[in-house]
Every structure is written in C-alpha cells, then in structure tokens.
C-alpha cells in the first residue's frame, strides 16, 4: 500500500510513484548510488552510480569478483552503510535520509540480514539467538517471541537443538539458525552476503533450498554469491565489475 507519506517523500525526490495497480512498485529502488571510501592511498570508489529496481518476490543474485563492490552494494540495501551520493528507497522509505536511530529502528523491522560468518552470539543458545531480534524490536510479546523462535527453528529443522550453543552444531546448521534469526521480525526482504561461502556444496544446497522456499512464500531476497551454479537458479542476476552493473540490471 502506498501511503501519503511515501507519496510526499517520492514527490520530494522527484521519483515516480506507480499508482497503477497493474504494475507493481519496486520494493527496492536505487538511483545514482555512489560510494567513496577514503583510504591511505586516496579515495576509492566502490560503487559508481548504481541504478537498480528489485520487485517484490524476486530472488536476485549479485555476482562479481572480489572487490567489485558486491558487499558495498548489499550494505546500501540494508542501511549498514550509507551512500556518498544517490538514493536508496526500500518499500517507499528513503533510507539514505534516515538518521542512525531511525535507520536502526527501520532495519530491525524491515530487513533480515544473513552473513557469510553467521554472527551468532557464541554464549547464547540457538533459541536465545533467534529470540534476540524480536526482543530488541519489541514486535512480539516475550512468550510469543519464544513460541515464534521455536517455530522458525522448526522451519529450518533445528527445533530439537534449540537449547544448544552455536559451537555444538555444524557450520551449515549455524547458518540455518542465522536464517531463522533473520526471519524473526518477519521482514519483507532478506539480504544475504555470501551465505554459502563457508559451506561445502552439499550444505550450501540445503541453505539455498531454504532461500528458494522463502521466495515461494513471497519474500524478496537479494543474495551476493560467488557460485555461478546457484546464481543461475535465481530469478535474476546482475554482475558487478569495478563498482558498475555490467550485466542484467
């Protein structure tokens, strides 16, 4: 649903808001996104003017060599990093304009993020790791958040391990917990940065199938990957070279 605020913000940014119901609004819209990092050796332009639309229900792969800007691009979508120039709209919200507080608030509710290195809290059991984002955002009552966390662990087939610490399960299982955690606040879109990069091919396949199921359930997923075979199974891929989209925008 397009809200008045979104129309207002869109007008301000001179972006078209599609009110034509036959044509969906993009969930993600990037316009002219440039990211410059200052390094000891001078400025380094990691992204050089990215324009991108991602529509609801898409499973978009981002491929490219190491250093091409893949992670920088995904960090723009999640609000983990900010563009030097340009605009990032997610579901009508111009996240490039949000201050840190509002951005953190927005991120907690609207995006699930999955990393190559899982980032589970090593001292919390799996259940507590999945409950954590719900408690932090306060979207679910305490009893309800535990119930929901168990449900999510069941979805990734790890309910029986709920009370184990991350170190007691395999890497592939840890990544499944990270997926359950990313889904905790039921975000519309999931960003995954090389989620299978540290896993063997059999385990990577299990993880990929979970992502494919989530897309079937209506989630929008943007995934950075090195794996060409996985990329071919997504609805669309784009290739980054030196901070530019060269293929498939």
């Amino acid at each position: 649903m397009v809200t008045l605020v979104q129309i207002e913000l869109a007008r301000e940014a001179e972006l078209p808001v599609a009110l034509d119901p036959s044509r969906p609004n993009p969930l993600i819209r990037l316009r002219g996104v440039v990211k410059v990092y200052k390094t000891a050796a001078g400025d380094f332009q990691a992204l050089k003017g990215i324009d991108l639309d991602v529509y609801p229900g898409e499973f978009l792969g981002i491929i490219g060599k190491s250093g091409a800007g893949k992670t920088t691009l995904i960090n723009m979508l999640t609000g983990v990093d900010r563009p030097t120039r340009g605009e990032v709209w997610i579901n009508g919200v111009p996240i490039h304009r949000l201050d840190e507080n509002r951005l953190a608030h927005w991120r907690g509710r609207n995006v699930g993020i999955i990393y190559q290195s899982f980032y589970l809290m090593p001292t919390l059991n799996l259940l507590a790791n999945v409950i954590l984002p719900m408690d932090l955002c306060g979207l679910y009552r305490p009893g309800r958040s535990e119930q929901r966390a168990l449900q999510l662990l069941r979805m990734v087939e790890l309910e029986q391990h709920a009370h184990k610490l991350p170190s007691a399960i395999s890497g592939g299982q840890q990544q499944r917990v990270a997926i359950a955690r990313a889904l905790a606040n039921d975000p519309q879109f999931i960003a995954a940065d090389e989620p299978t990069g540290r896993l063997d091919s059999g385990t990577a396949e299990v993880i990929f199938r979970i992502f494919a199921q989530l897309v079937e359930q209506g989630k929008t997923i943007v995934m950075v990957t090195h794996d060409q075979a996985l990329a071919r199974r997504m609805t669309r891929t784009l290739r980054l070279v030196d901070g530019c989209i060269v293929d498939g925008s």
């Binding site: 960090n75 999640t78 983990v80 990093d81 840190e100 507080n101 953190a104 991120r107 907690g108 993020i113 990393y115 290195s117 980032y119 809290m121 090593p122 001292t123 919390l124 059991n125 507590a128 408690d135 932090l136 009370h163 184990k164 610490l165 170190s167 007691a168």
Partner: protein, 348 residues
C-alpha cells in the same frame, strides 16, 4: 581445571584435543595460554567458559563445578562471572557499538534499564571509543571493534575475562593497544586469561601456560629450556621425577650415566670446582628455574644443595633419557641455546 580430557569424534575416528590437563588460575592473575595451531588452546578456553564440555575431568570456578550446571544455570553463571572476547570480535553487525555493549546487560538484568546506556558509554570511553558509540561495527577498524568487544565483555562487571586470540586478527600496533587494555583490567583487579600464539605478547602476562598436542608442558621445563621444541618439552614433561635433597647435601653429579638433566624448582645448586689446596671455587649458583645437564659437568666439579634450604629438583635420567638424547641430537643444541639465556652466574 582437574584432569580435563576432551575427545572429539569425527568420521576419521577419535581425536584427543585435551589430555589430562590440570591447571589453576588465581584471582588477579594475568595468564597467557600459548601453543601452536591445533595444540588445544581454544578447546581449553571452551572448557573454562562452558561453551564446550569435557569428556572427563572437572572445571571448578570459585568452587562451582561449572559442567554440572544446567544449560540455563550455566548461561546465567557465565553472564555474571565471565567476559569473553573472541578472535573475530563477534559483534552483532546490525547493532551500534553502544547497543552491542548494552546487550549483555539486557540479557542478564544485573543493571537497571535506566543505568545501562550510561554504563555502556562509560565502558566505551574506558576502551578509547568515546564518540564512536553510534557507529556500526563495519564503520570502525578491527582494533576498534575488538576494543568494543572488550567493553562488551565488561558489561556485567565480571571478575574473569577470557580472551581467545584477541589479537589474532589485528596488526601489531592494534594488538599492543588491545593488550594495554587487558593490563589496565589487571590493575582494576580482574583476572585475565588470554590465549595467543604471539610469544611477545605472552611475555607481557604474569604467567604462561604452554600447550602441546593437548597437554600442558611442565612450566619448569618451559621456563628453563625455552629453546627446545614443544614436542621435546612435552617428552621431558612426561619423564621428569621430583627428587629432594637436604640443605648442603652433596649431589651425585659423577653418576656413571652422564646423560641426566636437572631442573631446579626450589632452593639452589652450588656448583664448585675443587682446588688443589682442598678448598672449592664457586663456579655458579643455580636458583629455581635453572637447569643443569650431566654433559655440562667438567672433571673436578662438585655440586651441593644450597646451605640455607632444601633443594627440590625435577630429574630426568636413565636409559630412556640416554636413548632419547641419542635419537634427538637437536636437544643438545636447544640446551646450549637455553644455557646462553641462563648462563652460569654467581661464581667469582
């Protein structure tokens, strides 16, 4: 830790990561655990933090047998008593540094909600991150992330800080700064245990435990013979026997089997050269932490236990030792190099 054994089972069979490790850590100590990759350092730490469980043996922390606690009690115990610092920082990437530091307070509930932010800000200031509190981990350097992780470890004011390779991912300057933070914590009365493979950083701690193949090397062996290979130190660890002599006793250095090694653990050895007039010239006094090898003895030398107190030695000798020395000529090179570090001294 008493007789702690940890065996991992995998497809290739069983692997003993820790073999009967017994160690004590005292309040206020700054201890390092050093060893090569795969020597069992992280497994040892995981036994102390309760992140993993021993196959046998016990771990008692302030009289609590921690591996008898239920998972829930363990996590409460851990939250109140331990601050854990990891090699890869393990900050949550989507939370600001401030939120990361507040997280353990929220999990344990020791501090009232209204106090938490101010306390977290103070801790960040203490580790030199004032003004960075609203940044995400990705926006700061590795050294700063580790500093924030140390602030987080201090969130619930635990008495014990355990750090597993905290400088493993940092350049040497950032590593120094992180170590300075640990030194400050010792000054503030904390007990700190650091696992590291960086010997120069380990030297800044008050005591070092050396692990090799899942076993602790006898600290007297490691101290007296630092130039031996870890595997050689471990062999000696397995073969030393304690022997005592009363103060002033004459020591059997002219043993027919000249291949022996003594490590002094208490008292001292006075090494004397007999003179033609029937007296003796003191060649060296070997205090606790020194070694003496049969091969070093020259004709006409005598050895006594120091006159003021009994002598305690760790002794390795016998056919096994002779055979081992024959098999490992490098031992003598290591011994000679160790001697240069602990030269005979005290003589006139």
């Amino acid at each position: 830790m008493s007789e702690v054994v940890k065996v991992f089972k995998n497809a290739g069979g069983e692997f003993t990561a820790l073999n009967r490790v017994t160690a004590c850590f005292y309040a206020g100590e700054f201890v390092s655990v050093v060893g090569k990759s795969g020597s069992g350092k992280s497994t040892l730490v995981n036994m102390l933090t309760g992140i993993d469980h021993p196959t046998s043996g016990t771990v008692r922390v302030s009289d609590i047998d921690i591996h008898r606690l239920s998972e829930n009690d363990m996590s409460v115990w851990r939250g109140n008593n331990l601050g854990i610092v990891f090699q890869f920082f393990q900050l949550l990437p989507t939370l600001t540094l401030l939120e990361n530091v507040m997280l353990p307070m929220y999990l344990i509930g020791k501090y009232a909600p209204a106090e938490r932010e101010e306390r977290a800000l103070r801790l960040l200031e203490r580790v030199g991150l004032r003004g960075m509190e609203d940044k995400l981990p990705a926006a700061v350097s590795g050294g700063q992330q580790q500093s924030a992780a140390i602030a987080r470890a201090l969130a619930n004011d635990p008495p014990i800080i355990i750090a597993d390779e905290p400088t493993g991912n940092l350049d040497s300057r950032a590593a120094e700064e992180v170590f300075d933070l640990f030194t400050n914590l010792i000054d503030a009365g904390k007990t700190v245990l650091v696992v590291t493979h960086d010997i120069s950083l380990a030297k800044r701690t008050s005591r070092t435990l050396l692990l090799s193949d899942g076993e602790l090397i006898n600290p007297w062996v490691a101290h007296a013979l630092p130039r031996l290979a870890h595997s050689e130190m471990l062999w000696l660890t397995h073969h030393v026997q304690p022997v005592s002599y009363p103060a002033g006793a004459l020591l059997p250095i002219d043993d027919e089997n000249s291949e022996w090694l003594w490590l002094v653990t208490a008292g001292q050895i006075d090494l004397v050269e007999a003179t033609t007039t029937g007296g003796g010239r003191l060649i060296a006094s070997l205090p606790g932490g020194s070694f003496l090898a049969g091969r070093e003895i020259q004709p006409g030398w005598l050895a006594h236990a120091g006159a003021d107190r009994p002598l305690e030695l760790l002794v390795v000798a016998g056919a096994d030792f002779t055979h081992w020395c024959d098999q490992h000529p490098a031992v003598w090179t290591g011994l000679k190099q160790s001697r240069r570090l602990h030269p005979f001294s005290g003589g006139q």
